[in-house]
């Protein structure tokens, strides 16, 4: 029995060793928003080029960029632009990050399915979320939300180092305002939607792709004079939806060899179809199939 085990272990070792000679591995890590798409890309790419294995993990934009800076991944996924501070830190480590926009994400504002709120303007949304903002009850918006105690708005947000948190703050609150105290800070895009589904008086923001039947997306208007726009692939791409953001991949230096081939494939029609199927907007309109 024991001999069999040893032989098995050895053969596995040999197999792995033998494989690493011909198979190239690409390490890919970062944004939770992108992790599902990145995984699908990795799986699809296996069919295109079986000799390249792409290892994908999530953890958040901050984690991915840290790993890129520390030199442990080839590609970092990010749901926000790299900050000058981070680029500087990368250069200190001898790494020149190169940026690719791989798609667009509309940040949807979710409420409970029973919430009758028809639409929101960006200014109202800021008053709801900002520190010192004037709106803290649903009746101030003229709606009566069933089961919401005291009509209180329960704010659902993200942990402070998620790219989604940073982008929502920048796009909705602006540079000078902070989030209100007492937001429920969830640790993942899906957790936000889950909590909104479980809490009648809640409002939360999360990626378009996390929509479920149990929550409602609120149409958002740029200002009082503009129409309220429902977030979708089309409105994200033509930038008519006001909270849409580009999604990034960062490579370690100008990409070469297999990493370059992988990124080229992601930006090709085939790769872009994957991200479109996942509920995000591709970087350009795709030809009809």
């Amino acid at each position: 029995m024991r001999t069999a085990c040893v032989v098995l272990c050895l053969s596995v070792l040999v197999a792995c060793g033998g494989r690493s000679g011909s198979r190239k591995a690409i390490q890919n890590k970062g944004s939770d928003t992108l992790v599902n798409v990145a995984q699908t890309w990795a799986e699809e790419y296996k069919k295109v080029n079986p000799n390249v294995a792409v290892a994908v993990s999530g953890g958040g934009t901050g984690t991915g960029l840290s790993a890129l800076i520390n030199g442990t991944v080839d590609i970092a996924n990010a749901s926000r632009k790299m900050e000058p501070k981070e680029i500087e830190l990368a250069r200190k480590h001898g790494i020149e990050p190169v940026e690719f926009i791989v798609g667009y994400d509309a940040l949807a504002v979710y409420v409970h399915a029973k919430n009758p709120l028809p639409s929101l303007t960006m200014a109202k949304l800021a008053e709801i979320y900002a520190d010192g903002g004037s709106i803290s009850r649903w009746d101030q918006l003229g709606v009566d939300v069933p089961d919401a105690k005291d009509s209180k708005i329960v704010l659902v947000s993200r942990q402070n180092n998620s790219g989604t948190y940073a982008y929502f703050k920048e796009a909705v609150l602006g540079k000078d305002r902070e989030y209100r105290m007492g937001t429920l800070d969830m640790h993942g895009s899906k957790d936000v939607v889950d909590l909104v589904h479980k809490t009648p008086g809640a409002i939360g923001y999360s990626g378009l792709a996390y929509h479920t039947d149990e929550v409602r997306m609120i149409p958002i208007a740029k200002d009082d004079d503009s129409p309220a726009i429902i977030p979708c692939e089309k409105t994200a791409l033509d930038q008519s939806y006001p909270i849409a953001r580009p999604l990034f991949m960062y490579s370690r230096g100008q990409p070469e060899g297999e990493v370059k081939a992988y990124l080229d494939w992601i930006l090709s029609d085939a790769g872009q179809r994957v991200i479109a199927d996942r509920g995000y907007a591709p970087v350009r309109p795709l030809p009809e199939k």
Partner: protein
């Protein structure tokens, strides 16, 4: 060991290097490594967190703002590191957990040690220990999926992830440990005390209340303190059940955020060496100091009993 007395005349036996000798030697080394490793690890952890944390304490710490402000915004520009709300979160959750756990676990301990007999006693002891073995993430999941809608419906409040939710969960988590230790303390009271009280015509309850509890007082305090330490350091369940919301609670239905949960949620996504990274280690030092003080006090109290 090499100089074992010569029992057999054969020269080989004088310096036996057979299988048993090797096994003996290697087990001795293994056990020694195991024993010493606890010390090495605790020192290593201490050095690691202080090295990272002191960088912040001596660099950019503003004591008044650190302990006095509720604004925990480490990723804003400029960042603010106020932990008052986090301290309040940890304190409120731990406090409520103790309010729930102390009567329950002392009651359970008294019942198991003084009243229960035979099979009931054994079954109860095993069940209490099994309760202690439930992973904290499972407790957190119960808080998130079961308690949350329950609290919303039962108390008609906007959100069920709050002090009450995490306090109940944490109380249930701390109770088994407190029960086990408290029961040991009660068992440590010599039977002669009980017999003497019984000889004077005391009832069962009089014996427990007037004789056994006062005699086991220090051990019971130690049990409670260990429970407090458990509550203070618990992370996962609190992270999931408290709502993870920077907030000064004014009622048990307010969401809060604990120190431990903050470290767990944020450490993975900060770049190594940044102020944010270091301030999280400073929180770690704070936790380390507090739990160390609590455990040390409990330990000293327990030792006090043993000496008696």
């Amino acid at each position: 060991m090499g100089a074992a007395p010569e029992i057999h005349p054969r020269p080989a036996a004088a310096d036996r290097r057979d299988l048993a000798w090797w096994v003996d030697k290697s087990v001795a080394i293994l056990v020694f490594t195991g024993g010493i490793s606890a010390i090495v690890f605790i020192l290593g952890i201490f050095v690691f967190i202080t090295k990272e944390g002191f960088g912040f304490i001596f660099g950019s710490l503003d004591i008044g703002g650190f302990f006095g402000s509720t604004k925990w915004r480490p990723t804003s520009t400029p960042p603010t590191y106020g932990i008052l709300a986090l301290l309040a979160g940890t304190a409120s959750v731990t406090g409520l957990a103790m309010l729930i756990a102390v009567p329950f676990s002392l009651g359970a301990a008294i019942y198991i040690a003084e009243f229960a007999k035979g099979k009931t006693r054994e079954v109860l002891k095993v069940l209490v220990e099994m309760l202690a073995a439930i992973p904290s993430v499972v407790w957190g999941f119960i808080g998130l999926m079961v308690m949350n809608p329950l609290i919303i419906n039962a108390f008609d409040v906007p959100v069920g992830l709050c002090v009450l939710n995490s306090g109940v969960i944490l109380g249930l988590m701390a109770a088994p440990i407190m029960t086990t230790i408290a029961e040991d303390a009660l068992k440590a009271v010599p039977d002669t005390y009980r017999e003497a009280a019984e000889a004077m015509g005391a009832t069962r309850w009089q014996i427990v209340w007037k004789v056994v509890l006062p005699a086991a007082k220090t051990g019971l305090v130690a049990a409670v303190l260990l429970g407090v330490g458990r509550g203070f350091g618990e992370t996962m369940a609190v992270l999931m059940a408290s709502g993870h919301s920077v907030n000064l609670p004014t009622s048990v239905f307010d969401s809060v955020r604990a120190l431990t949960a903050t470290i767990a949620a944020e450490l993975g996504e900060t770049s190594v060496g940044s102020d944010h990274y270091r301030v999280l280690f400073t929180l770690g030092i704070l936790l380390f100091v507090v739990t160390f003080a609590i455990n040390l006090t409990a330990d000293l109290i327990v030792r006090g009993i043993r000496k008696k």
